[in-house]
């Protein structure tokens, strides 16, 4: 008889897996590219870019870039 397993608290991706996480990483990369493009366009559109818009885009770009770097480092670690 299989014992009942409690719900996996704090374990959202435990069953899941590196493959699902990798596909989500690709989505993260797409979002990061869109945000960086928007930021570049915003900064080139006028000599004085709107600071509030740039700051809002930073909320996406800075942490997503850090996670993207972590993903790349992890992939290199897997390869070596």
């Amino acid at each position: 008889m299989t014992p009942s397993v409690p719900p996996p608290v704090l374990d959202l991706l435990r069953h899941g897996d590196a493959r699902a996480s990798m596909s989500a990483g690709l989505v993260l990369l797409a979002v990061l590219l869109v945000a960086l493009t928007a930021k570049a366009l915003l900064q080139s559109a006028s000599p004085v870019p709107r600071q509030d818009a740039v700051r809002l885009l930073n909320i996406l770009t800075v942490p997503l870039f850090i996670v993207f770097v972590a993903i790349v480092v992890e992939r290199f670690g897997d390869l070596s």
Partner: protein, 269 residues
């Protein structure tokens, strides 16, 4: 006979700012909650789809800024953007091989950066940590609220064994304590007052608690969502009454240490 002009608009007209007509109100906030809950539910079906939902929600928040008509809506957008960004990080970060508590600690770093950037966009950190009326005695009372809350959470949401991996108990406690701070600052510190400013106190309390509970939908456990809702409502109410996050951050730290370390050690030996 008259002729309509077919001369193209002058270049100035093309660079005119967008019409600022968007005011964030209750229906829009409910729509945001529904979109967030749907993205969370998609985690059960497909992680990449859910990541797409979070990404789209975050980008929509950024795209809405040029159309906002008032200061309060503009103050809400950074927080509304920060929530799906944090969720996107949680599902995409390469942490699947870690045990729960170490992973939570690792994810706290980008989460803290998101919160700091969202705070920098509109808020002053000093306002958030200002000691409210009643002083430290009131904050201590708020921290003590965590004890009955932790008991309720422990009953509703049993903890998986081995959550701390190879971490010693003290280290796991420190990691847990640090890991929940950004989460608390985001939901009770920034989101709740921002919603309150546009939709009133009651909506601020209920909607922020529901948004917090929505982030537990992927556990596919009614108990987990109910526990998160209870925590969100209780700590949100304390946050509203005291006007500061000091007490609720302390309460959340005590709550997770009790639920993930103390209670399992006491009740399971």
């Amino acid at each position: 006979m008259t002729f309509r002009s077919v001369v193209p608009a002058p270049p100035d007209a093309l660079v005119q700012p967008a019409a600022r007509t968007l005011v964030v109100e209750l229906p829009l906030l409910v729509g945001y909650l529904a979109a967030l809950a749907l993205s969370e539910w998609l985690l059960v079906v497909s992680t990449p789809l859910a990541a797409g939902g979070f990404g789209l929600l975050a980008l929509t928040g950024c795209a809405a800024l040029p159309f906002t008509a008032d200061e309060r809506s503009q103050a809400l957008l950074p927080v509304m953007t920060a929530v799906p960004v944090v969720r996107l990080i949680v599902v995409a970060a390469p942490t699947a091989d870690f045990a729960s508590i170490p992973r939570l600690g690792l994810l706290a770093v980008p989460t803290l950066i998101v919160v700091a950037l969202a705070m920098r966009a509109r808020y002053r950190a000093a306002e958030l940590f200002r000691l409210g009326p009643g002083g430290w005695a009131t904050q201590l009372a708020v921290v003590l609220v965590a004890v009955p809350l932790a008991a309720a959470v422990y009953l509703l949401m049993p903890v998986t064994a081995g959550a701390r991996g190879h971490l010693p108990v003290v280290a796991a406690g420190v990691v847990l304590a640090l890991a929940v701070v950004p989460d608390e600052l985001l939901f009770r510190g920034l989101l709740q007052p921002a919603i309150t400013a546009v939709a009133g106190q009651r909506a601020g309390l209920y909607l922020s608690a529901m948004m917090y509970a929505a982030t537990f939908i992927a556990y596919t456990s009614v108990g987990a969502v109910a526990a998160a809702l209870v925590v969100g409502l209780a700590l949100g109410w304390c946050r509203q009454r005291t006007g500061t996050v000091i007490g609720v951050v302390g309460a959340r730290v005590v709550l997770v240490v009790l639920v993930y370390l103390a209670f399992p050690a006491i009740f399971r030996g």
